[in-house]
């Protein structure tokens, strides 16, 4: 008998090998290459060996570039706005709808539909809805006697329109998680508060919300990380415009690389975006371990 469990010492590595090989070739190596490229100047159409080493020049250029800072601002505004709106709306709806409703599973199915369809299709849908001549939204406003809104054509409004599309698509994510958390709460805690004379409002504020806070924090962080991945919806809706008003970092990377053809700079940009996401991921891990340790105490 080799060991009590019969486990072969090489087995874990054999099980891991195919996934590790794909991840090394398709993720790890490209990211290392991205770091390498960010210190070089390279143009499409020439072999990468002909790239010229420029040290920190790409990063220095980026940090001095107004378009970069505009893009950082747009990204931060977009990410914070969608997370705050989605969390507030999602949690509020979950609190309102935490009842013995019939047909919950059908409604939940309907709510996840927007999340399941392609972001590119979400972009199409909203570009049509926002159309100022024949789009349904403009007609709705006209029917109500309200003035038309330059949804995508005004720099101030475009970012709002893009945020609305994301809120439409992703609020249900927070709602479903919050509702699941509420319905998993120990009945005893709420019962006890009631017996002590707490009003419904007090129960919500002091018992329910603190108890579901860890789940909401994790969900919000997941949404925040996802917000930095958004590209398609904005690409279809505005292509980053008017001007740079909706040019989030993902889109800025794409344009820098494949429109302006500055691949070294685009790589430097990619690495900065990766750094932001990395920091957020570390926060996520901390939030989850905090949640786990709290759960352990209960």
């Amino acid at each position: 008998m080799p060991s009590r469990h019969g486990l072969n010492r090489a087995s874990p590595y054999l099980f891991l090998a195919p996934a590790a090989a794909v991840a090394l070739v398709g993720l790890v190596y490209p990211m290392l290459r991205s770091v390498w490229l960010s210190f070089h100047e390279w143009s499409i159409g020439t072999p990468p060996e002909s790239a010229r080493f420029v040290g920190l020049e790409n990063y220095r250029w980026l940090l001095a570039d107004d378009a970069f800072w505009v893009s950082v601002g747009v990204t931060m505004t977009f990410a914070l706005a969608v997370v705050v709106l989605e969390v507030v709306l999602g949690v509020a709806l979950a609190l309102v709808l935490d009842r013995d409703l019939r047909g919950t599973s059908l409604f939940r199915t309907v709510f996840i539909l927007p999340m399941m369809i392609a972001p590119i299709v979400v972009g199409l849908i909203w570009r049509f809805l926002y159309n100022e001549q024949f789009g349904p939204l403009s007609q709705l406003l006209k029917a109500l006697g309200l003035p038309g809104v330059p949804w995508l054509s005004s720099p101030d409004m475009a970012l709002v329109s893009v945020i609305i599309a994301d809120v439409w698509q992703w609020t249900p994510f927070i709602f479903i998680l919050a509702l699941a958390a509420l319905q998993g709460l120990p009945a005893s805690a709420i019962e006890a508060a009631r017996i002590d004379g707490a009003t419904r409002w007090q129960t919500t504020l002091y018992i329910k919300l603190p108890l579901i806070a860890p789940v909401i924090a994790v969900a919000a962080l997941l949404r925040l990380i996802d917000a930095f991945k958004v590209l398609e919806v904005i690409y279809i809706l505005t292509e980053g415009g008017p001007g740079l008003s909706t040019e989030i970092l993902s889109l800025h990377i794409y344009k820098t690389a494949f429109v302006s053809q500055q691949l070294g700079r685009a790589s430097a940009l990619s690495n900065l975006l990766l750094l932001i996401v990395l920091v957020l991921t570390v926060l996520l891990v901390l939030a989850r371990s905090l949640r786990a340790s709290r759960a352990g105490k209960e």
Binding site: P12, V22, V110, I117, I120, G184, E232, S250
Partner: protein, 278 residues
């Protein structure tokens, strides 16, 4: 959802709220489907209506175009093959992480989470460079399949871990006592037990590969394009053919919509697994 002592009863107001939300969720999708079934004058008439004479004209135009048929096929090939590969490689890796104690396990486990967070835009430049100039993958479906498998693996590994952890170790033990080796235990005992997890993972993976746009845009040419890339080129033409665009949009939306109705339970489990479980 089963009424515990503290679950409040539903009121007409709560039903009104939930129905309004359902209309908000569905409405824009229905607008797309309705528009795809409309003749051109009706779309541009300036008065949107859900009552109209449906026509399949747009679908005939879209599917009658040999290019589109090719792009749809490309999308199907890329999504199906990459999903298959991701699932096989992913469940094996998840099994190793859950059931074995080995050197480097924490690195693998932590690395998986980190890689799940990488924005695809970050990969466009290096993958374009490597695929084109180092691997000779340029404009090939295999190149797209490889990168899709790579970006989906961390997610599949993550989601399957919780399902594998629930398989009773005693079952595996029993198989080992009967003389099964690690691979037999995995393929004959564990895999059949985690079918629901595999279904959830398959849906998520297929959906991401089927919907993916930016990497496909950078890595394909006019022969190897996928459907989302086609749409993006179509919409930036001067005279937007809204009827046909919405028909393509609907075609792209159909597989995810069908999956959602067939397996909403698994999808919600998968979605909540990340946040609710640890």
């Amino acid at each position: 959802m089963s009424g515990t002592a503290t679950t409040r009863r539903a009121t007409p107001v709560s039903y009104a709220v939930i129905v309004a939300l359902a209309i908000l969720s569905l409405g824009p999708i229905l607008v797309m489907i309705a528009t795809s079934l409309k003749a051109k004058p009706e779309i541009f008439s300036g008065s949107f209506s859900l009552i109209f004479m449906p026509t399949l004209e747009n679908y005939r135009a879209v599917l009658g175009d040999a290019q589109n048929a090719r792009y749809l096929t490309n999308s199907l090939i890329v999504a199906t093959v990459s999903t298959g590969l991701t699932l096989i490689f992913g469940c094996m890796a998840a099994y190793a992480i859950v059931r074995f104690r080995f050197f480097g396990r924490d690195v693998v486990s932590g690395g998986t989470l980190l890689m799940r967070m990488v924005p695809p835009a970050v990969l466009t430049v290096p993958v374009f460079m490597i695929w084109t100039y180092e691997f000779g993958f340029s404009n090939s479906l295999s190149g797209v399949i490889l990168v899709y498998t790579a970006i989906n693996l961390p997610f599949v590994i993550w989601i399957l871990q919780s399902f594998i952890a629930q398989v009773p170790p005693a079952l595996e033990e029993a198989a080992r006592i009967d003389g099964a080796n690690d691979f037999q235990v995995f393929f004959l005992v564990v895999l059949p037990m985690i079918k629901p997890g595999l279904a959830a993972a398959a849906i998520f993976t297929f959906r991401i590969a089927w919907n993916e746009f930016i990497l496909a845009l950078v890595l394909t040419n006019r022969f190897t394009r996928t459907m989302p890339v086609k749409v993006s080129l179509f919409i930036n033409e001067h005279n937007i053919e809204w009827g046909q665009i919405m028909a393509i949009g609907t075609l792209i939306a159909i597989p995810p919509l069908v999956f959602t109705f067939l397996a909403s339970r698994q999808i919600i489990t998968g979605m909540t697994a990340g946040a609710v479980k640890g």
